[in-house]
């Protein structure tokens, strides 16, 4: 009888069951006990993608668009997915050479074979159109859109500023490497308003980093919030006109609405087309501008500290009146042994001294302001006098950083006793050391914005609103309360009218230094300046406001190395005023002469 082994089926079945049990136990461990696999799976399949918001738009005071965003397209490549393609055609479409293609592909491959890298940055809209039609032929290539700043009128480059890729110095955790941030001008100052809020999106990706749709239908996604618009105070027509007038000249024009402190225009010349600092040509253009000897990137209106020259005499007058050391009727002879002067009749009153801009007259005024006889020795006397003087001068917004909404504004310099003590030593200087200040020369320095602000103070007869570039922020049009605050000077209101009358005479009476600024239909008040410049020709300066009563515009024009203030700066300022107040220019000859004047060659 053959032995039967049918009990062995139990051994076999046991083996099957043991393996089955091992599987179940392992499944329990992987799927229920150990949670780390869920995390790994998410890390595998989920990508956190940033949604970039559109940057806020910037408008001028009449709601004309100054800055908007334009879509550009980056051609991306995932090297691992690239199949054979028509190299010549791609070169044509993108505008690069065959060597470029090979090099770019190699670079992308070195970065990562599976992750996308930028193959060609910022393809133009037209090229994108052609490319889009053919892209299906290029496996592994795709297009990603981004936005660039665009300046339809190509003006106000310094004011608007530019944006650039974030540097290492920014520590704000909001930004990631490669993000764009405002680097200068309004773009920098209003960065938090303009940038909006980045959103994030979780997308599922496959093993090759290809997007496969949103995660859980996007319940964890946040929407990007677009940047808020800025409503600037600039008048784009005046801005463009001022830039045109400053062509081939070095210097600045700043115009302010006196009643509000709103900056109507600000030109720093030479300037540049803001569209140059955008997109893939940015780096190249930036370097070109950087090495340009005329320094087009330098914002002279806010950063060039100039001697104010004779325009300072109107402040000198007010300080004298306030301190009671002169009266409206005070007369000093034009004693050229004290300070050089041009030939003119002796000033018989303060007004006539201003009108004729007599240097020795203001030497005397300043001497009286410094030497009060408060102390027996002249050093102490000068020290006390200068501090009283500088205290009043500072209240005109000088020697201090105006709260304008652009970063990196210079303070300028109004020296006080402390300042001279540092140079010469305590009690080692007196009036005789510092008399140049009397005519706005010497250690004194003022930026063009402050000059325009002085004009605004005289237009207002005694106060100013902090000059600013933005009158409403965002959709709810909020405004910085700083710009609603009236700043008073330390000179009584009652003294201003005298000087304003003198400024009227400067322009409108025979013998005035700025007859070229006269406009038939508008009463312009102003003061010329001609600042001596050790490096070359004098600087031509003019500040003005108009109309005389209820002024609408205060303007400062500063032209480097152009000579007399009355010859260049005054007519240019009057053209700005005429253009702003009447919207057209009647004095065509003058306009043409000013536009065509090339004053840079004297540099």
């Amino acid at each position: 009888m053959k032995k039967t082994y049918n009990n062995r089926k139990y051994v076999v079945i046991t083996i099957f069951l043991v393996v089955g049990f091992l599987f179940i136990a392992r499944l329990f461990f992987l799927q229920i006990f150990d949670n780390s696999y869920i995390l790994s799976a998410n890390k595998n399949a989920l990508r956190f993608v940033t949604n970039y918001p559109a940057r806020g738009l910037i408008y001028d005071r009449n709601n004309k668009l100054l800055v908007y965003n334009e879509a550009v397209y980056d051609l991306m490549v995932v090297p691992k997915h690239v199949k054979e393609f028509d190299t010549a055609e791609l070169c044509n479409l993108v505008g690069i050479t065959k060597e470029d293609v090979i090099q770019k592909l190699q670079k992308a491959r070195e970065y990562s074979p599976y992750a996308a890298s930028i193959f060609e940055k910022q393809i133009s809209k037209t090229n994108y159109g052609y490319l889009q039609e053919k892209l299906y032929k290029y496996s592994g290539f795709y297009v990603q859109s981004r936005t660039l700043r665009k300046y339809p009128l190509s003006v106000a480059a310094h004011t608007l500023g530019y944006i650039g890729e974030i540097g290492t110095e920014v520590t704000d955790s909001y930004y990631k490497s490669g993000d764009y941030i405002g680097m200068s001008g309004l773009e920098k100052y209003y960065e938090p308003v303009l940038r909006g809020q980045k959103g994030s999106k979780i997308v599922m990706v496959d093993a090759f980093n290809r997007e496969k749709g949103s995660f859980h239908n996007g319940i964890y996604d946040t929407v990007a919030i677009a940047g808020e618009p800025l409503y600037s105070t600039l008048d784009v027509d005046i801005q463009a006109y001022a830039e045109q007038l400053m062509k081939d000249k070095v210097g600045s024009i700043v115009a302010i609405e006196p009643a509000t402190g709103e900056i109507l225009t600000m030109v720093s010349s030479p300037t540049y087309d803001p569209n140059l600092l955008v997109g893939r040509v940015r780096g190249q253009n930036y370097n070109k501008l950087l090495v340009d000897p005329t320094k087009p990137l330098f914002d002279r209106a806010l950063m060039a500290v100039y001697p104010p020259g004779s325009i300072f005499k109107i402040i000198q007058s007010l300080v004298g009146l306030e301190e009671g050391v002169i009266k409206e009727s005070t007369a000093f002879p034009c004693d050229k042994s004290l300070l050089g002067c041009h030939n003119h009749p002796n000033a018989t009153s303060l007004k006539s001294a201003i009108k004729m801009s007599c240097n020795p007259y203001f030497y005397q005024v300043f001497r009286k302001e410094i030497q009060h006889g408060l102390a027996s020795d002249r050093f102490t006397d000068s020290e006390l006098g200068l501090n009283l003087w500088s205290d009043k001068v500072l209240s005109f917004g000088l020697g201090q950083r105006l709260g304008v909404d652009i970063p990196n504004v210079k303070k300028g310099r109004i020296p006080d006793a402390n300042y001279y003590d540092k140079i010469y030593g305590h009690h080692a200087w007196a009036f005789s050391t510092i008399y140049s200040l009397s005519i706005g020369q010497g250690e004194m320095g003022i930026i063009p914005l402050q000059m325009a602000n002085i004009a605004a103070i005289f237009a207002n007869r005694g106060y100013y609103y902090t000059p600013h570039f933005v009158k409403a922020i965002g959709k709810n049009k909020s405004i910085n309360p700083l710009y609603l605050k009236k700043n008073l000077t330390k000179v009584s209101d009652k003294y201003f009218q005298v000087v304003a009358d003198a400024m009227y005479e400067v322009v409108n009476e025979p013998g005035g230094t700025a007859s070229q600024a006269r406009i038939d239909s508008i009463i312009v008040c102003g003061k010329t300046g001609t600042a001596q410049n050790p490096h070359g020709e004098d600087h031509s300066i003019f500040i003005a406001f108009a109309p005389m009563h209820n002024p609408k515009i205060a303007v400062a024009v500063y032209i480097e190395n152009a000579g007399f203030g009355g010859v260049w700066a005054a007519p240019i300022a009057s053209l700005i005023i005429e253009k702003y107040l009447t919207k057209k220019i009647k004095r065509k000859d003058l306009e043409e002469r000013m536009i065509n004047a090339k004053l840079m060659s004297k540099h």
């Binding site: 082994y5 099957f16 780390s36």
Partner: protein, 419 residues
């Protein structure tokens, strides 16, 4: 007329039912694993899920064909069929196509089959036929040699094709031999060998040999009065240490680099998540992220987004684990093991030894596939590419498993007609 009624009445509908269920679930899983947005229809013939439906339908035709032909056909022509497929295996070696490093495909103009898949049921037929011959006793050395030859010839041919996975499956026949009377020691030796194998790879071969020697010496000390016992222990000692060194030599010098790497990764000696360890790691992540309930049908991210390679063939279990979770995986494992046990019970009720031995062969082959495939997906076994029966995509494998199973179902339905 009575016979006609019996055919249908005697078919084991449990096996047929599990078969159909597994095949359909497999099809749905393939659809989910390689789902293509542009070809959403599960019937789309340009996609593998559409093709799998074709394989399923032709498999059903094959099954019907097997049920229709005479029940004695397979036992009568067992050696003929065996011979035919050995011939095909040789043809493949000469004229086959190479896929994934294995030369295992025979092409007939755009259409290919894998003879190694079919060789399994053919070998099973031949072994069953041989062992069921009336004058056979498995205790005889001659029988052992012939049985071993029947198994070794196709194994060797498949190894020559560089298809290690398919060759390993033939080890499953040890269970058949065991059931037919081969000493149970073979299973014990097999287990000891497996443990030694892993220990040698994990620990230095000299340390292992030292431990074995120490154990043997202690053993000899206790049985020092028994000379025969001592001789047995010494022989055992020499064989074991010989095995240890052989394994080490084989591992270091015979295995190919990628095979050695896969084993090292499995043993945790090498961590290489981008290279050899990538598949297994991704597979574990996919299954592990399924949790208890799974992510839901068509909602798997890991399998769908190509993190797991070969997800419609060797790693199909990942889709099950990820989308159906622990619950679904449990049910699938349950169904597969259930089918194996059902086959064993049915085999035991056969009157004809041929049918019984064939049945054990079916269970053993399926078992080996299931163990290696799921074990690999779960990171319990090294990466060996063999399909999960009825689930994995592929015409040859589905056809061969269908033939394998339905020959058995056919035999079983006729068990009452045999004396």
């Amino acid at each position: 007329m009575r016979e006609q009624k019996n055919i249908l009445g005697n078919i084991d509908w449990v096996m047929v039912g599990i078969y159909l269920l597994l095949v359909l679930l497999g099809w749905f899983n393939i659809y989910s694993a390689i789902f293509n947005e542009n070809h959403k229809s599960i019937f789309d013939i340009t996609q593998n899920y559409g093709k799998q439906l074709m394989w399923i339908l032709t498999s059903v035709l094959l099954a019907l064909f097997i049920m229709a032909i005479d029940s004695k056909f397979f036992s009568q022509f067992a050696f003929g069929i065996y011979g035919f497929f050995l011939l095909l295996l040789m043809v493949v070696l000469l004229a086959g196509q190479t896929t994934n490093g294995a030369k295992s495909w025979l092409g007939f103009g755009g259409f290919g089959i894998q003879p190694s898949e079919f060789a399994k049921f053919a070998t099973n037929l031949a072994l069953a036929k041989y062992l069921s011959s009336s004058d056979i006793n498995i205790k005889d050395l001659k029988t052992k040699i012939y049985a071993t030859l029947i198994l070794l010839i196709p194994t060797a041919l498949i190894l020559l094709q560089n298809d290690t996975g398919s060759a390993i499956v033939y080890a499953a026949f040890i269970l058949v031999l065991y059931r037919e009377g081969l000493s149970g020691n073979i299973l014990v030796f097999g287990l000891i060998a497996a443990i030694l194998f892993i220990l040698v790879l994990l620990i230095n071969k000299f340390i292992i040999s030292g431990i074995i020697l120490a154990v043997a010496l202690i053993f000899i000390y206790f049985i020092r009065k028994n000379r025969r016992g001592i001789i047995t222990v010494v022989i055992f000692l020499v064989l074991t240490i010989g095995f240890v060194f052989t394994v080490d030599y084989l591992f270091q010098h015979v295995l190919q680099d990628h095979q050695r790497q896969r084993i090292n990764v499995l043993l945790g000696k090498e961590i290489d998540l981008k290279g050899a360890g990538y598949n297994v790691n991704q597979s574990k992540i996919a299954i592990g992220s399924g949790g208890f309930w799974g992510k839901g049908y068509l909602n798997g991210t890991q399998t769908k987004f190509n993190f797991v390679p070969e997800q419609s063939t060797d790693f199909i279990f990942c889709t099950i684990g990820e989308e159906w979770g622990f619950l679904g995986s449990f049910i699938i494992v349950g169904l597969l093991i259930g089918l194996l046990i059902r086959i064993i019970f049915i085999a035991e009720r056969q009157r004809s030894p041929f049918s019984r031995i064939y049945g054990y062969g079916v269970a053993s082959i399926l078992f080996m596939h299931i163990m290696v495939n799921i074990g690999m997906a779960l990171g319990l076994l090294p990466v060996i590419g063999i399909p999960l029966p009825f689930f994995s995509y592929g015409g040859s494998s589905l056809w061969s498993f269908t033939i394998l199973l339905f020959i058995f179902i056919k035999q079983d339905s006729y068990r009452l007609n045999l004396l």
